[in-house]
Structure formats: C-alpha cells, structure tokens
Assembly symmetry: C2
Homo-oligomer: 259 residues x 2
C-alpha cells in the first residue's frame, strides 16, 4: 500500500514550534507536504485573500519534506495546496496546528487552525485541527505527540463523516498523565471583551482588544470540561450552520400576513 499523503498547515506560521512537532509525528505515518503561512495568523477565522495577491515560496525548513510558505491565511494555504501545489494528487489527510493556545468552545469561530481544517473538509478531505491549551511560544508538546499520532491513525483508517472536521484540543502539560479522549460537544462559553484605551505619541486614540474567557456551561460532555479534567477533547465540527430548530420556530411565530 502506498504511504498516505498528508498535508500540514497551521496558523502560527511555518516557523512555529507546534508545526515542527506536527510534521515530525506525521512523517512516521506518511509522505508530508507543508503549506503554511509565512507569519502568524491567529484570530484570522475563516478569512481568505480577495482583492490582494498571494505569494507562495518553496522553503527548505523540514528535513525530507516539501514545504511552502504563503502570504495568505490558513484557509488560503489549504486552497493553494489542493488546487496548485498538489493539483494532481489528493491528500489522504489534512492536519493543522499544533496551535499554541486553546481552540475549545467558541474559539473555533476565530481560529485560523480550525479554518484550515474546515477548508480541508470542504474539499472532501479528512481533516483535523490540533491545539494545545498553552499559549507559550515555547510550549511543552512532549505529552501530546502519542495522542496526535493515535488520532491521525484512527482518521486514516476510519475517515470522518462528510462535512465534518475534528477540533482536537490537548490539556497543557501537567504533573499527571492525560487520562484519555472525550468525544464531545462545543462548550457554551464566550469571550467577555474589554477594550484597553490608549493614546499614541501623536495624541490619537487606539485600542487593544482584551478580555476574559467565561464558561457558562455546567455540563460534563463538552470540551471545556474535558480539558479541565485532563482529557483530550475531540469536537466534530460541521460547516453546515443551518439551525434547523429555528426554521420551524420562525415559520410558526412570524406573522406572514405582514410579509
């Protein structure tokens, strides 16, 4: 059987520690091609580059791995990989990360890491976004390598439902071993924003986005609970956003005579 072809991307940029760890694990499983942003793209959500040009440059960064850096977003990188770099070949797996920082709960919406994975799913490819709940640029990934490999093997063997990408988060390195995996739902939590108001040397006002993460969710079947309790969380995420329950609510409650 030929080795699987694995596309690697991320949002922290091609020189981050997290992508180096991910590439080293994926090399055990197959042929790896990297297309990743040339600079950090955190918080880019599912942004794509429209109305501006894109750059793509081959770089020797990883031993024995074809690697390209791009001026674009994580979603652009997956598009460039699929439709240009790997034009005549179809990846067996798309992996993104390992993100430096949590992408649990609502953070999935803002996450460049997950946008690369969801872009892969849109292309019909089994896709996984990996994040470590530790924001340090020099974070310790040693406790997650075996889990990254196990999860990737399961996806290569079993696939993922159509229209779904996996959002995998790992607890930070703690004194006890990771307890296992919880396949769970996205926690009901949000960022409680504050804006830090300042003045530049010319007296013009500017703001920094700041704020705290607030968890409203009391359940034990969600990703926040899993991470807090030292489990790996896997949330299968779909890109069909239709709220079917709301369709019937609108049809029942709205006054159609007024429309």
């Amino acid at each position: 059987m030929p080795k699987p072809l694995i596309l690697v991307s991320n949002d922290d940029g091609i020189t981050s520690k997290g992508i180096r760890v991910l590439v080293s694990v994926m090399k055990r499983l197959g042929e790896v091609v990297v297309v990743a942003p040339d600079s950090p793209q955190s918080g880019m959500g599912h942004a794509i580059t429209i109305g501006e040009t894109l750059r793509l440059t081959e770089e020797e960064i990883f031993e024995d791995v074809k690697a390209y850096k791009s001026s674009g977003t994580p979603a652009d990188c997956v598009k460039l990989a699929k439709h240009y770099v790997l034009k005549d070949r179809t990846p067996d797996l798309v992996v993104s990360g390992i993100n430096h920082g949590s992408n649990t709960s609502i953070s999935v919406l803002y996450s460049g890491t997950m946008s690369a994975a969801i872009e892969g799913a849109l292309e019909g490819l089994p896709s996984i976004g990996f994040s470590l709940c530790d924001y340090s640029s020099n974070a310790d990934f040693s406790h997650v390598e075996e889990w990254v490999e196990k999860i990737a093997i399961q996806v290569l063997e079993n696939g993922i439902s159509k229209g779904v990408a996996l959002n995998v988060n790992f607890p930070p390195k703690r004194n006890e071993d990771i307890k296992g995996i919880k396949v769970c739902r996205q926690a009901d939590a949000k960022w409680q924003e504050e804006f830090d108001e300042r003045y530049d040397p010319n007296g013009r006002k500017y703001f920094w986005l700041a704020g705290n993460f607030v968890n409203f969710d009391k359940g034990e079947d969600n990703d926040e609970w899993a991470i807090a309790n030292n489990y790996v969380s896997i949330v299968p995420c779909q890109y069909d956003l239709t709220a079917h329950h709301s369709i019937s609510q609108i049809n029942k409650e709205w006054d159609w005579d007024k429309l």
Copy 2:
C-alpha cells in the same frame, strides 16, 4: 415605548451603498448607531484583530445618526460597539450589510457580513446579516428595502432563538417582483478554486484567487434554490458547530484499544 436601538455594521466599509440603504431603512424603525470598517473587509470571515491596535473614529456620514469607522474587521466592529461605544446600553437589534454580493450556502463561512451578525448573536442580541446577490458597487437595492424592513420588524417583535443569527439573501433586481420569503437550509455548494499564476515586474511569482461557485444541491428547500427562483432566502445559522451525529459515529467506529 422607547424607540428600539439598532446597531448597524457591514463588511464593504462605511461608505458603501449597501450600508447607506440599510441605515435609511433602520431609521424608520428606531435609533440607529453605526460602527463599520473604514475599508472593505470582504472575505474576512470571523477574523478578529489580535496583536495589532484598533482605531475607532466618529464620523458624520449619515444624517442624524451616530456613526463610527474602525480599522478593524466586522467582528471587531460589533465587539467595539457592544463593549465601548454602547457600553451602558443594549441594542435591540444588530443588522449587517446590505452586502454587495451573495452570501448564500458555504459563503457564510467567508462572509464578513455574517461574522458581524454571528458576533451579535454571541452577545445574545437578535442579529441579521443582509446580502444582495449582485456584486456591483452601484447595485440596485430598490426592490429589497421593503423586505429588509418587514424582516427587521418580525425580529424586533419575535426575537430569534438563542445562539442563532439570520442569513438573509435577496435576489438581484429582475423584471418580475420578488415572490416572497423562504426560510430554508444552507445549500450544499462550494467554490471550485483556481489560482491565476502571474509574475510581477521583478520576476517574482504571485497568484490571484479565482474560481467558480458549484452547486451540488438538487433540493428545493435551500437558499440557492430560493434565490434562483426569485425568493428572499432566510437561513437561521448557529455558531455551535458540533456535529452530534459524528460524535456517535466516532464512538462506534474508532478502535479505542489503540488509543
């Protein structure tokens, strides 16, 4: 009863025609405050500004309406409005648009218009993104004003389910009147990308993202069908991306002994 407070944003920028139309309709319904990007932000998805500063400037653009332009993304604009501009007041409605161009089907993921609406929903506010399926900067919005008003009134009166924002698309101006509204699901369609490869005057390669929209959906209960048949489409969109069906599939199929 006090007039409702209505927050208006968009992704085409505060000077676009679409936001002028939206502001003029909303002024009939309540007190309007505008916080919108100072330049076009199409394709920004749910990007937010992290690691860079944000600007916010009050501008007299719309008659009798408080308006602010920001250097940020549409999602940033709604955050700035909620947590800074309107800090002590809660909007009764958040509207975004009217976008110059379709945001049906999968485009919801890439849409800055819808990210502003989803950000509103995240803040617990009834929120609607409006888009006209006509990309022209001078598009004719005359046939949609009455529908924008009717839909906003329904939402002010009935609210929207928690965790849901409405994605409203209007057909382009045609020779026949709009037939009505279809509350429907997101069509199964995607962008089939191509990259247009060129060389700059210094001989360095660059790319333009290009491509076609491909509709795989044969159903008549989706937004693509509605627009093609001259109906207004309303897709209620949820920001909880959990694919519940996939949780049980994974728990059944994966080999947990290997994990």
